[in-house]
C-alpha cells in the first residue's frame, strides 16, 4: 500500500518529473510556476533523483531559453524536463519541432492555460497545447491530481521507448492547484517503469567527441521530404507503447488507464468525447443518468497525439448513435475544434475502410466549453447529452449565454450530482486572514489522517490588495472527482463580517446547512446587523447559525487579523468530520509542522488561539426572528455610464458569468477610468490631514500608490458650496496666495498602507507623534470624507501653465490619470506610473509588458487608467511579456509615420488652410506645456478649416490631425521583462535611436508570479529559483544602456530623492531619442512592512546598493559630461539596508555562513560599482551634482 498524500496537481507532476530527470530548465509562468519552484527547492535541499544524484536545475531567461537548454541537454545525453503553460509553450515551439524532429525522448509538463487573444487570461483551457499539436510531440492528458502523477510517469516511460517526446498536460488551476488525496508513485515505480536499457540507449545517442556525429544539417529539396517521412514508424508505434506503459503502471499500482477510457452504459447511444479535468464532471453526469436508465457514456481521451483511431473505436460502444466532442479551445474559422476534427476524420476513415464497428455512421457534433476556466458542471454535461437526443447541433457552446450566434445549450442549474455522503464546505475569507492556508491544512488533516478522501479548490480575487478568497472543500468516503465549484454547500463559513453586505455568501448554502459567521456582534445582537437578503436565506433554508468574534479573539492573543486557526477549530467542531479532541490534536500537530521552523513563539500563539476558540463559539437562537434587516444599496450609482452599469457592474458584483456574449466588446477594447466606480472600502484606517502644520510639500500625494490623496488649489469662492468638514488653508505659493489649498483623501479607495504618513516630513511641535497626516479609523470618517472627496473631484484642476514642473510640490497639483489600482497596499511601482501620467498623461501612449503592472493596470472588472476633464488620457495596451519594447517601438513608428504624413498634408493643403496656420502647425515648439496647449488649439482650428473641404486629402488630414500634437510613448514593465525575457528586444530598441521612454519598475524579482529571481535580483537575496541566495551580482542595466552613448539613462529612487525622480522623468521625455528610467520599486516580495518602503529606498541609495544618476546625451552634445551622479558615496553599511528585509534575513537564519559570504561579496560589489560611476562622473567636463 502506497502512502496517501494530499497535494496539488503541480506537485504531483513535479515529483515524478524530478525523480526521472537529470537536467531541469525552468522559467516561471502561471499556473505552472510551482513545478519549477518545487524542482529548485528540492535541488537546493539536495533531494536525489532515482539515480541517487541531485538534478541540475537552471533558471533561464525565458521559456524559449528553457526550451533551448532542454534541447541542448538532451543532445548531450541527459534526461531532461521543463514545465510551462500558455505563451511559455508558444515560445518553446521552435525547439519542440527540433526535439521531435530528432526523435528525442523528453517530457514537458504543462498546466494548460488560455493563450492571450483579445485578453490575457491565467486560467485554463487547451488553446496553448492545441497550438503545439503540429510539433510532433505526443500529447498525454491527466484529468485529475492523481492522473497528473500517473500520466507524468507514463509520459516519462513511454518517451524513452517511443523516442517521441511528450507533452504531459493537465488543466491549469483546476488540476494544477486543486488539492486532493492521492497515491504518489514511489521511486521504485519510477525506476522500474523507466527501465535501464532505454535510458542507456538515450545516452548512447548523445553527441560525444568519442563517437562524433552531426545533427541539425541543412537539407535540400532532394532529401528533406524523405527524411521527414522516415520518422513515421516511431509515431505508428507510440500508441501501443503508451498503452503498455499504462499497463505496467497498473501492474504496480492497480490503477489501470487506457488511451481512451470509456465509462457509462455498455449499450450507450449518446456519448461525450473529451479530455482534461472536465471529464470528472461529465462522468458524474453520466453515472447519474445511467442510474436513471438513460443510455449514455463518456470517452475520456488520454493520448491525443498520436491520435489512435483504432483505440478510439474500440472504446466506443457499437451502439453509439451520436457523439458530442467537447473541446476546451477555440479555433476561429475552422470547421470544428481539434479533437472534434480528429474524431470525425477517424470515424470517416474507419467507415470508408469498412472497419466501422457502428451500425450506422454516428452523428458527430463538436462544441466548446470551459474557456478560461469557465465552470463546466455535471448539468452542463447533461445538457450536451440531452442535445444529442433529437437534433444535435454542431458548433455549440455550453456554460455561457451566446445571444449573438445562438450556439449555447441551455442547462438546468438545479440539476446536481451532489453525493449525500460528501461534506461540502465553502469558506469566504480575505487573503490576509489566512483562510486558504488553514483550509489547505484542513484538507491535509482529513486526507491523510482519516479514511476520508478530501479535495480543496481555491478561488482568488483579481486584486492584489484586500482580495477575497473562496475555498471549496469536499470530504467523503468516495473518490472525489467533482472538478467544479461547490453549488450546494452543507457548511458555509463567512470569515469576514463585511462580506454579509458585499457578497451573497449564502447563495450556495443548501437547505439545513450550517452557517458560521465571524461577527463582532454577539449571538443576541448579530441578527439586526444582517441585511434582509441574508436573513431571508437563513430562515427560508432553515440554516443553523453560529457566531464567533474571531477578530476580537485573534487581536487579544496578538495575532492581528489572522483568524485562520480560530475559524478552523470552529469548522471542525461544527462539521463533526473528526471527533473534537482528535481534530484539535491534529490541528495543533499541523500548526507545529507549518510554523515550527518560524520559532516557538509563533507556534505558541497559534496553539493559544486553538485552545481559546471553542469557548467563544455560540449558536444563534433563530426562533422568533423575522426578516427585518436593511436593504443592500446598489453597487453602481445611476450616474455611472451605461457600460459600467450594465457590464462592469455585474462583474464587480461577482455576476460576470451571467453576462451574455452580446454584452462583451468584440475586440478587447474597454473604456478607461472604471476603478472609480469600485468603492472597495478595504482600509481600516485612513490618513487625516492636519492642515495647520502641513507645509504642502506634496510628498504624500507623490508617494500614494493608489492616487487616493490629492492636492488642489482652488478659488475660495467655491468654498461656499463645500461640505461642512471640507478643509482648506492658504497656499504656500506666493503667486497663488489669494487662493485656497486643499489636501483630500478618498476614504473608500484608500488601502490604508500609511506610506503617506511615513513620508510626511512635518511633526506636530507640541506632540511629535502626530504629523500633518495621521491615520484614523475609516468607518467613522467615511460618510463625511466621501462627501468631501466628491466635492473635491468636482473642483477645477489647476492650470498646468502656472506650475513649475521642476518642483515636486508643483507636480503634485497635477491630476493623476492612474487611480485606485488593484496593486498591493503600499506598492512601490505605481507612484512612478502615476507621476508619468501627471506629467504627460494627456498625450501618453503606453505599451505595458505583462506582469504586475499589466495586472493592476487592466485586470477586469475595472481599469485604473483614466482620462481628464477634456477626455484625454493615456491610451494603454498590453501585448505580451517578451515583446514589450518592440511593441512600444511599433507604436512610435506608427505615430511618427502618421505625423509625417499629416505634416506633408498640411504643407500640401497650406494654400487652402491659410499659410499662417500651416506654418504655425509645422513650426510649433512643443517643448513646454504652453507650446502643447497652443498646438492643440491650432489642431482644432485645422479641423474646422478642413471640414468644408471634402477632398480625400482633407479627410485624411482631419483623421490624422491629432498626430500633429506631440505624443509621449512609454514602454513600461518590470525587471523580469527588461532584464530577462524582453532584454533582447529592449536592447534593440535602445539601439534604434527612436524617441521612446522606457520605464523599468525594478522590484529585483518576478513579483507577479510570486517572487522568482531575475537577473535584477541582487547578490545574497533569497528568491524562488535562488533558494540559497542569489550567487551572482545584479546586472547593471543602466551601465549597459549607457554604452550606446545616445540613450538617456536614469536610475532613480523616489524615497531617496524625489526631486531627482521628477527631473529624470522630465529629461527622459524631453530627450528625442530612447530613454531608460530604472526605478527602484519596493515590493511585497522583499518581505517587510511596505509603509517603510521609502526609508528602505533611502537606505538602498545611502548604502550604495542603488546609486542614483542621470546620463543625459543632451549634455554630451553641449560638451559636458553626460553622467551626473546624484547620490553621495556610500555612508551606510550595506547590512543596515539589506537586513531590514526578509529576502536577505531569511538566508542569515537558514544558511548563516552563506549569508556572510554573500554579504561580503555584495559589499565589494557596492564599492566596485561606486568606483565605476564615480570615474564616469569625474570625466572631463564632468558636473557631479551633489545633494
Amino acid at each position: 500500500m502506497r502512502p496517501r498524500v494530499t497535494l496539488d496537481g503541480n506537485e504531483a507532476a513535479a515529483n515524478v518529473a524530478y525523480l526521472a530527470s537529470e537536467v531541469i530548465a525552468i522559467y516561471p509562468i502561471t499556473p505552472a510556476s510551482q513545478m519549477g519552484e518545487l524542482a529548485d527547492q528540492w535541488a537546493a535541499q539536495e533531494r536525489p533523483n532515482i539515480w541517487g544524484s541531485v538534478p541540475r536545475v537552471v533558471e533561464m531567461q525565458s521559456e524559449g531559453g528553457a526550451a533551448g537548454a532542454v534541447h541542448g541537454a538532451l543532445q548531450a545525453g541527459s534526461l531532461t524536463t521543463t514545465f510551462t503553460a500558455s505563451q511559455g509553450l508558444l515560445l518553446m515551439i521552435p525547439n519542440m519541432y527540433k526535439i521531435a524532429g530528432e526523435l528525442t525522448p523528453a517530457v514537458i509538463h504543462i498546466a494548460a492555460r488560455s493563450l492571450a487573444t483579445h485578453a490575457l487570461s491565467i486560467f485554463c483551457d487547451h488553446s496553448d497545447v492545441m497550438a503545439a499539436r503540429g510539433t510532433g510531440f505526443a500529447m498525454l492528458f491527466g484529468n485529475s491530481v492523481q492522473e497528473a502523477a500517473d500520466m507524468a510517469l507514463v509520459a516519462h516511460t513511454a518517451t524513452l521507448e517511443a523516442r517521441v517526446p511528450f507533452l504531459h498536460i493537465f488543466d491549469g488551476f483546476r488540476t494544477s492547484h486543486e488539492v486532493n488525496t492521492v497515491e504518489l508513485p514511489l521511486e521504485e515505480d519510477v525506476r522500474a517503469l523507466l527501465g535501464e536499457t532505454r535510458i542507456q540507449a538515450h545516452r548512447g545517442r548523445a553527441l560525444r567527441p568519442e563517437t562524433p556525429s552531426i545533427r541539425g544539417t541543412a537539407q535540400n529539396p532532394d532529401v528533406f521530404f524523405q527524411a521527414r517521412e522516415a520518422i513515421n514508424p516511431y509515431y505508428a508505434a507510440t500508441a501501443e507503447i503508451v498503452q503498455r506503459s499504462m499497463d505496467r503502471l497498473a501492474e504496480r499500482t492497480g490503477r489501470q488507464y487506457h488511451l481512451f477510457d470509456y465509462v457509462g452504459a455498455p449499450d450507450a447511444e449518446r456519448v461525450i468525447v473529451m479530455m482534461g479535468s472536465g471529464a470528472g464532471a461529465a462522468e458524474e453526469a453520466v453515472e447519474r443518468l445511467n442510474r436513471e436508465g438513460e443510455k449514455v457514456g463518456l470517452v475520456k481521451v488520454r493520448l491525443f497525439r498520436p491520435f489512435s483511431v483504432g483505440h478510439l473505436l474500440a472504446a466506443l460502444p457499437a451502439t453509439t448513435k451520436s457523439i458530442a466532442v467537447l473541446d476546451r479551445t477555440k479555433e476561429p474559422g475552422a470547421p470544428g475544434e481539434p479533437l472534434y476534427l480528429d474524431v470525425v476524420s477517424g470515424l470517416a476513415k474507419s467507415f470508408g475502410e469498412g472497419a466501422s464497428p457502428f451500425v450506422g455512421f454516428p452523428r458527430v457534433v463538436g462544441g466548446r466549453y470551459g474557456l478560461s476556466s469557465k465552470e463546466f458542471t455535471p448539468t452542463m454535461a447533461k445538457a450536451v447529452l440531452d442535445s444529442l437526443r433529437d437534433d444535435p447541433k454542431h458548433d455549440f457552446v455550453v456554460g455561457i449565454n451566446d445571444d449573438v450566434g445562438h450556439t449555447s445549450l441551455a442547462y438546468d442549474p438545479s440539476w446536481s450530482t451532489a453525493d449525500s455522503k460528501t461534506v461540502r464546505a465553502v469558506f469566504f475569507g480575505l487573503g490576509s486572514d489566512g483562510t486558504v492556508g488553514a483550509n489547505k491544512n484542513t484538507v491535509k488533516i482529513i486526507g491523510e489522517e482519516t479514511e476520508f478522501n478530501a479535495q480543496g479548490y481555491f478561488v482568488y480575487d483579481s486584486k492584489k490588495s484586500g482580495s477575497m478568497t473562496v475555498s471549496h472543500l469536499r470530504f467523503g468516503p468516495r473518490d472525489i472527482q467533482s472538478t467544479y465549484l461547490i453549488e450546494q454547500a452543507s457548511f458555509v463559513a463567512c470569515h469576514q463580517f463585511g462580506f454579509v453586505e458585499r457578497v451573497d455568501v449564502l447563495e450556495r448554502a443548501e437547505p439545513k446547512a450550517t452557517f458560521l459567521l465571524n461577527s463582532p456582534w454577539s449571538k443576541d445582537e448579530v441578527w439586526q446587523h444582517l441585511p434582509a437578503r441574508m436573513q431571508r436565506q437563513i430562515l427560508d433554508k432553515g440554516l443553523s447559525m453560529y457566531v464567533i468574534d474571531a477578530d476580537g479573539l485573534a487581536d487579544s492573543i496578538g495575532m492581528g487579523r489572522r483568524i485562520n486557526t480560530i475559524m478552523q477549530v470552529c469548522f471542525f467542531a461544527l462539521s463533526g468530520v473528526l471527533p473534537r479532541d482528535l481534530a484539535i490534536e491534529r490541528i495543533k500537530g499541523a500548526i507545529k509542522k507549518s510554523y515550527g521552523k518560524r520559532g516557538e513563539a509563533v507556534v505558541l500563539k497559534n496553539i493559544e488561539a486553538v485552545d481559546a476558540a471553542l469557548s467563544h463559539l455560540h449558536e444563534v437562537d433563530l426562533s422568533g426572528f423575522e426578516v427585518d434587516g436593511f436593504l443592500i444599496p446598489a453597487l453602481i450609482g445611476d450616474d455611472a455610464p451605461a457600460f459600467v452599469r450594465d457590464v462592469t457592474g455585474p462583474m464587480m458584483d461577482n455576476a460576470g458569468d451571467s453576462l451574455p456574449v452580446s454584452a462583451m466588446p468584440i475586440d478587447g477594447t474597454f473604456p478607461v477610468g472604471t476603478t472609480r466606480f469600485e468603492k472597495r472600502n478595504i482600509a481600516h484606517e485612513i490618513p487625516v490631514w492636519d492642515e495647520d502644520i502641513c507645509i504642502q510639500c506634496g510628498k504624500c500625494v507623490l508617494v500614494c500608490p493608489h492616487s487616493v490623496i490629492r492636492a488642489k488649489i482652488l478659488d475660495p469662492a467655491k468654498l461656499s458650496e463645500a461640505p461642512p468638514t471640507f478643509k482648506t488653508v492658504k497656499p504656500r505659493w506666493r503667486e497663488l496666495a489669494d487662493q485656497a489649498y486643499s489636501l483630500q483623501v478618498a476614504p473608500e479607495d484608500c488601502t490604508g498602507c500609511s506610506l503617506c504618513v511615513e513620508v510626511c516630513p512635518v511633526k506636530n511641535k507640541a506632540e511629535p507623534r502626530f504629523k500633518a497626516l495621521n491615520m484614523a479609523p475609516q468607518e467613522p470618517l467615511r460618510e463625511a470624507e466621501r462627501a468631501n472627496w466628491d466635492f473635491f473631484l468636482k473642483l477645477p484642476e489647476v492650470d498646468r501653465n502656472l506650475l513649475d514642473l521642476q518642483k515636486v510640490k508643483d507636480t503634485q497639483l497635477l491630476e493623476p490619470l492612474f487611480e485606485f489600482s488593484g496593486a498591493c497596499a503600499g506598492c512601490g511601482e505605481t507612484p512612478y506610473i502615476k507621476l508619468a501620467t501627471q506629467l504627460f498623461g494627456d498625450r501618453m501612449i503606453v505599451a505595458n509588458a505583462t506582469g504586475c503592472s499589466s495586472i493592476y493596470g487592466a485586470n477586469l472588472p475595472t481599469t485604473p487608467w483614466t482620462k481628464n476633464g477634456a477626455g484625454r488620457g493615456p491610451a494603454w495596451a498590453n501585448s505580451l511579456f517578451e515583446d514589450n519594447a518592440e511593441f512600444g517601438l511599433g507604436m512610435r513608428l506608427s505615430i511618427d509615420k502618421q505625423s509625417e504624413y499629416a505634416r506633408e498634408l498640411v504643407a500640401r493643403l497650406a494654400p487652402d488652410l491659410g499659410q499662417d496656420l500651416a506654418d504655425a502647425l509645422l513650426a510649433a515648439d512643443q517643448a513646454t506645456e504652453a507650446g502643447i496647449t497652443a498646438q492643440r488649439e491650432r489642431v482644432e482650428a485645422l479641423r474646422k478649416a478642413l471640414e468644408p473641404m471634402g477632398t480625400p486629402a482633407a479627410r485624411d488630414l482631419h483623421a490624422l490631425a491629432d498626430s500633429l500634437v506631440k505624443k509621449s510613448v512609454w514602454i513600461i514593465g518590470g525587471d523580469g521583462w527588461a532584464y530577462d525575457i524582453g532584454y533582447g528586444g529592449l536592447d534593440h530598441v535602445l539601439a534604434s535611436g527612436e524617441n521612446v521612454n522606457i520605464l523599468v519598475l525594478d522590484t529585483e524579482v518576478y513579483s507577479n508570479t510570486g517572487g522568482q529571481a531575475s537577473k535584477a535580483t541582487p547578490r545574497g537575496a533569497v528568491a524562488k529559483f535562488a533558494h540559497n541566495g542569489k550567487l551572482m551580482a545584479k546586472k547593471d542595466l543602466g551601465l549597459i544602456a549607457m554604452a550606446y552613448g545616445g540613450v538617456y539613462v536614469a536610475r532613480i529612487a523616489m524615497g531617496a530623492d524625489d526631486k531627482q525622480t521628477v527631473k529624470a522623468f522630465l529629461e527622459a521625455e524631453a530627450w528625442e531619442g530612447p530613454s531608460l528610467i530604472i526605478a527602484y520599486s519596493h515590493c511585497i516580495a522583499h518581505g517587510y512592512d511596505l509603509k517603510y518602503g521609502l526609508q528602505q529606498q533611502e537606505l538602498a541609495v545611502k548604502s550604495g546598493h542603488w546609486p542614483i544618476f542621470r546620463y543625459n546625451p543632451e549634455r554630451a552634445a553641449a560638451g559636458e559630461n553626460p553622467m551626473s551622479l546624484d547620490s553621495k558615496a556610500p555612508t551606510v553599511p550595506l547590512e543596515k539596508y539589506v537586513y531590514n528585509e526578509t529576502r536577505y534575513t531569511m538566508l542569515v537564519r537558514s544558511k548563516p555562513e552563506a549569508a556572510k559570504r554573500l554579504l561580503a561579496k555584495a559589499t565589494s560589489d557596492v564599492s566596485d560599482r561606486w568606483r565605476t560611476y564615480a570615474f564616469l562622473a569625474s570625466q572631463a567636463g564632468a558636473k557631479v551634482e551633489g545633494k
Partner: protein, 334 residues
C-alpha cells in the same frame, strides 16, 4: 611569583580580569583572542528572549504577508528547510565557545517570561556553560508598580532560576534601587552566587532635528567606576555572593580598586572596544607590575581591603554631599 588567581562563582580564575557581555562575544574568534590576551573568563552576549520572540513573529508575519491572496503569487518566498530562530543558535554558540576555550564561559540571559527564564537557563546549562549571568532589568515605567513590587519580581525570578539549574547563577543589577544593600542581601539570601555591578543601559536621547527619541549607548568612562566601587565596598564582607565590578574598568588601576573594594573580578568591554582585545595584555602586565612594586604577593590579599568594614573611615561611604571633614570628629572618637 605573584598569585593573580581569584574565586568567582565557585570557579577558580587565573586572574580577576574578565571580559563582560557585549556584541564582541558573538564571534568565537574574538573569544579566542580574549583568552590568548589574558582574560580569565568570558561572559557571552545575552540571549534575549524578547528579541527572539519578536524576530520569530516578524519572520512569520513577513513570510505570511500577501500569501494565498492572489492566484499568480500564492507565496513570495521559497520554502526553506529550517531557520535558525529561537535559542538554538545561542546554545550552539555556547557549545562552540566551550569547545574553543579553556577558560570558563559564562552565558548571559535576558528573559521576559517566567517560563522563558527557567526553560532557557536549563538549556544553557545543558549546552555546557560554566555559569549563568542573569541580565535583569525591569524598567519601571508604570506608575502603579511600587519599588517593593519590582524587587519582588526580581527575587521571584532569581528564586525560579536558582531552583532549576545546578550551575552558578550571577545577577547583573541596575544601580536603581532605593536600598541597594538591602536588596542585595535579599538576593544573597536566595543563594545567588554572584552580583554583577552594574548594568549599563541604552539611554533615550533626543534628536532635535527629527523630534525623535533615539536610544543611545556610549562607551563607559573610568568615572563610572566610582559608583561601583562604592556599593561593592559597602557590601563586601556582608554578603556571601561574589561581587563583580563592571562599567568603568579601563586599566589596571581600576582592576586594583575593584579588588580593594571587595570584588572578586573586574569586567571590561569599553576599553577593549576602544583599544582592541590586546589591551587585556597591557592591563594584566600593569596589574602584575603594580602588585610587584607594592609588594602584594596575591590578589586575594587586597580583595576587600578598602571595603567599608575595613577602612579607617567607614563614614566616607555614607556621605552623599560635600561636608567638611572635621578633625574634631576624629578626635572625639578617640
Amino acid at each position: 611569583m605573584i598569585d593573580l588567581t581569584t574565586r568567582y562563582l565557585g570557579l577558580t580564575l587565573e586572574s580577576p580580569i574578565v571580559c563582560s557581555s557585549s556584541p564582541m562575544m558573538q564571534e568565537i574568534d574574538n573569544l579566542r583572542r580574549m583568552e590568548d590576551a589574558g582574560a580569565s573568563a568570558v561572559v557571552l552576549h545575552s540571549l534575549f528572549e524578547e528579541q527572539i520572540t519578536l524576530e520569530s513573529q516578524d519572520l512569520d508575519r513577513n513570510l505570511f504577508h500577501g500569501t494565498e491572496s492572489y492566484a499568480e503569487a500564492l507565496s513570495y518566498f521559497p520554502e526553506m528547510e529550517s531557520f535558525e530562530i529561537g535559542p538554538e543558535a545561542y546554545l550552539e554558540h555556547v557549545r562552540k565557545a566551550k569547545e574553543a576555550l579553556s577558560i570558563p564561559v559564562v552565558a548571559s540571559l535576558n528573559g521576559i517570561s517566567t517560563g522563558g527564564w527557567v526553560d532557557w537557563a536549563r538549556r544553557i546549562e545543558a549546552a555546557g556553560a560554566d555559569a549563568i549571568e542573569l541580565n535583569t532589568y525591569f524598567m519601571p515605567t508604570d506608575i502603579e508598580v511600587s519599588g517593593s513590587q519590582l524587587e519582588e519580581m526580581y527575587l521571584e525570578l532569581v528564586r525560579d532560576v536558582k531552583g532549576s539549574v545546578k550551575i552558578p547563577v550571577a545577577v547583573k543589577l541596575s544601580p536603581f534601587f532605593s536600598s541597594i544593600p538591602n536588596f542585595c542581601a535579599s538576593l544573597d539570601a536566595l543563594g545567588v552566587d554572584g552580583l554583577v555591578m552594574f548594568n549599563r543601559f541604552y539611554q533615550p536621547d533626543f534628536d532635535l532635528e527629527r523630534l525623535e527619541v533615539v536610544p543611545r549607548l556610549t562607551l563607559s568612562s573610568p568615572s563610572e567606576l566610582l559608583m561601583r566601587l562604592h556599593w561593592v565596598a559597602v557590601l563586601a564582607g556582608r554578603i556571601k555572593a561574589d561581587m563583580a565590578v563592571t562599567g568603568g574598568v579601563h586599566g589596571a588601576t581600576d582592576v586594583i580598586k575593584s579588588m580593594m573594594a571587595g570584588a572578586k573580578v573586574a569586567m571590561m568591554t569599553s576599553a577593549l572596544l576602544e583599544h582592541g582585545i590586546d589591551h587585556l595584555r597591557t592591563v594584566r602586565h600593569e596589574l602584575e607590575q603594580w602588585l610587584e612594586a607594592n609588594e602584594y604577593p596575591s590578589i586575594a590579599l587586597m580583595q576587600g581591603s578598602l571595603s567599608q568594614r575595613k577602612v579607617a573611615e567607614p563614614a566616607a561611604f555614607e556621605r552623599a554631599n560635600y561636608m567638611k571633614v572635621l578633625r574634631s570628629g576624629a578626635w572625639s572618637r578617640a
